[in-house]
Amino acid sequence: MSKVTFPRMGESWRAFKLLLEDLGNEVVVPLRPNKRTLDLGVRHSPEFACFPLKILMGTYLEAVEMGAGTIVTSGGVGPCRAGEYAMLHHKILQDLGYDLKMIVFEPPRLYPLNFIKNVRALNKARVSIRGIIDCIKRGWRMLQALDNAEKLSHVVRPREIKRGTTTAVYKKVLDWISGAYTMEQIAEAEAAALEALRSIPQDSSREVLKVGIVGEIYVLLEPASNLEIEETLGDLGVEVERSMFLTGWTRDNTWNETTHGLTIKEAASPYLPELVGGHGRDSIGHTILYSKRGFDGIIQLAPFTCIPEIVARTILPRVSKDYDIPVLTFFLDEQTGKAGMTTRLEAFTDLMRRKKRFQAGAKCLTG
């Protein structure tokens, strides 16, 4: 029986590991993308493939070294390239001489049979249907708990008194959540995690800017690919609200579209009425919604050569002008350096702060 691995996206691996192990699989947990992952990925990927493909290529190669023989991943129906990536990864791995099994989950709404077939293939412990539903529910609950902890860490970090406390506490509470097993334990761990984050000493009088992060899902969710932008912003005294979390996205794309998704579509439709694949339209919709909610700025994250985000990026300057909200775009790839990014973020934060104070009626704008 071959060991199973899957793409790594932020902290979601904890829930996937739980789910796959419950179904009787031996799991190889993918490593956090590091320098070597990138090197491996870049070496074996097409030059202009986007960043997520390269990172995942590296991740898979590392997992294969650790003994993985089956890869579970998601598919897609286009027009974004990501829908074809599972196929390309498989081809490249075969070309390198690895004989792997690829289990690709297509959107179950469109391909229900594919979903059933894949679940059966993964169900090695022969869990009953009710048991599977139970496992999925628990995995889902854990994802929600992880997302909630992350959301709270974004709020607490800019207000912390001693820099670095939030990150340390956040890392600790993640282990609490992933240590939980039953529904009750997960809920308990989540409550304890949120409590621990809330009880971090905070300075409530601090002037905190609010920034929305929009863009492509992988670079939003995987901190190693966006060079921990949320942490950097938090340290600069900026509260971050990310437009996408795995739980929200999965809900929109597996079963039904939530009302939340529909409002984004409506908001974006005067500017981009067409689904251009990926998250191009979402980036525009979220930018408009955030500006209506009085955010101080928007940061768009996209992998280099990402087609949908390029379309969005071309339209965003007009949105920025119409809604009077600053937008900063980062196209990320293996060449992006942390120092350069931090400098740009510092400048952006200064400009937002200046704009905010100016609007609040401050006269002296220097110093």
Binding site: F48, A49, R81, L88
Partner: protein
């Protein structure tokens, strides 16, 4: 004076211009295509477009800039899907919006959505919508649409006979003219794969087709292959077809030509930063590995591509292929 509609000489121009022109002329609208690409058009495009987009889109911007002051309307359709199966690159899908929100002082844009997946009559409806812009009644638009389809059919037939799109457009205008550019000492046959808007824009492709011809190579492209032959390739042994129409055609053409093995060389022309090509190129490359008897080369173009560099690479490739072919003949 008739209303003037501008059509930029870029992207789908090379595949659908005769059809669009016939349609517009039939409903009493004058069509003005932008001129051939020049350095200044490219420079305009580079200035207006986002730095991260690919050259063909930058060129499109350039052609839009050229037409800006000269026409009453700009025809930038949102071409989503024309064959009921595959879509176009996401940049085509967002093209009217990209142009609308990043170029100022534009004439009104006709951004009709064309998506044949939405029913049998969806394309006719799209053209009727264009007709309504100019007050043409339904009967006139239907007649114009049918005539345009006829022209398109004729155009495709010329392509299948081996003419390139620009030549076929000339032939449609003045039928009966002889074979353009008679060739001497043709002994090699190459296929140039890639997107028509890159290959046939002689400025941006640094005139690759003409250069190869001068080197004594007969050139064919995916447009010259009968669609039925391409359709026979099914999914090219992939679990999933490529999502994008033009990439799908290029991949199928590559598979067909590799399998036939009658061609002397295959060139893949790709633009810097092209999204779909990152997959397409890798897939063709892997296929090429399996067919060692057909030499394969990738050429990448961008806005800085130099004439000399390209010529050197082509000459070297042609020389190697020719030498190899001669060696094979000697062995026999």
């Amino acid at each position: 004076m008739a209303v003037r509609v501008g059509i930029p000489r870029a992207l789908l121009f090379y595949l659908y211009f005769p059809m669009w022109q016939a349609f517009f002329n039939e409903i009493g609208v004058q069509v003005i295509p932008s001129g051939r690409t020049t350095k200044s058009i490219l420079d305009d495009g580079i200035r207006e477009a986002l730095a991260d987009v690919c050259v063909p889109i930058k060129l499109y911007y350039g052609h839009v800039m050229e037409l800006k002051g000269k026409v009453d309307y700009l025809f930038i359709p949102r071409v989503v899907c024309l064959n009921g199966k595959t879509v176009y690159c996401p940049k085509f899908l967002g093209l009217p919006d990209m142009i609308k929100y990043s170029v100022d002082n534009l004439p009104p844009i006709i951004d009709v959505r064309m998506d044949s997946r939405q029913g049998r009559l969806s394309l006719l409806n799209a053209y009727s919508e264009i007709g309504r812009y100019f007050g043409a009644d339904r009967i006139t638009t239907i007649r114009a649409y049918l005539k345009a389809l006829g022209v398109h059919y004729h155009f495709r037939r010329l392509l299948r006979k081996g003419w390139s799109p620009p030549e076929a457009m000339e032939l449609l205008k003045s039928p009966g003219t002889g074979k353009a550019g008679s060739q001497t000492k043709v002994n090699l046959k190459f296929a140039v794969l890639g997107y028509p808007y890159a290959i046939y824009d002689s400025f941006i492709s640094v005139n690759i087709v003409e250069k190869l011809r001068q080197l004594g190579v007969m050139v064919m492209t995916a447009e010259n292959i009968h669609p039925a032959l391409l359709a026979l390739q099914k999914n090219c042994d992939l679990p999933k077809r490529l999502f994008w129409t033009l990439s799908d055609i290029a991949l199928k053409a590559a598979h067909l030509l590799f399998k036939q093995g009658r061609i002397d060389g295959i060139l893949h022309l790709t633009a810097f930063g092209c999204g779909p090509d990152s997959l397409l190129n890798k897939l063709i490359e892997m296929e090429a590995k399996k067919h060692r008897n057909v030499p394969f080369m990738t050429l990448m173009i961008d806005e800085h591509t130099g004439e000399a560099g390209m010529a050197t690479r082509l000459e070297a490739f042609v020389d190697m292929v020719r030498r190899r072919k001669e060696a094979h003949l000697c062995q026999k």
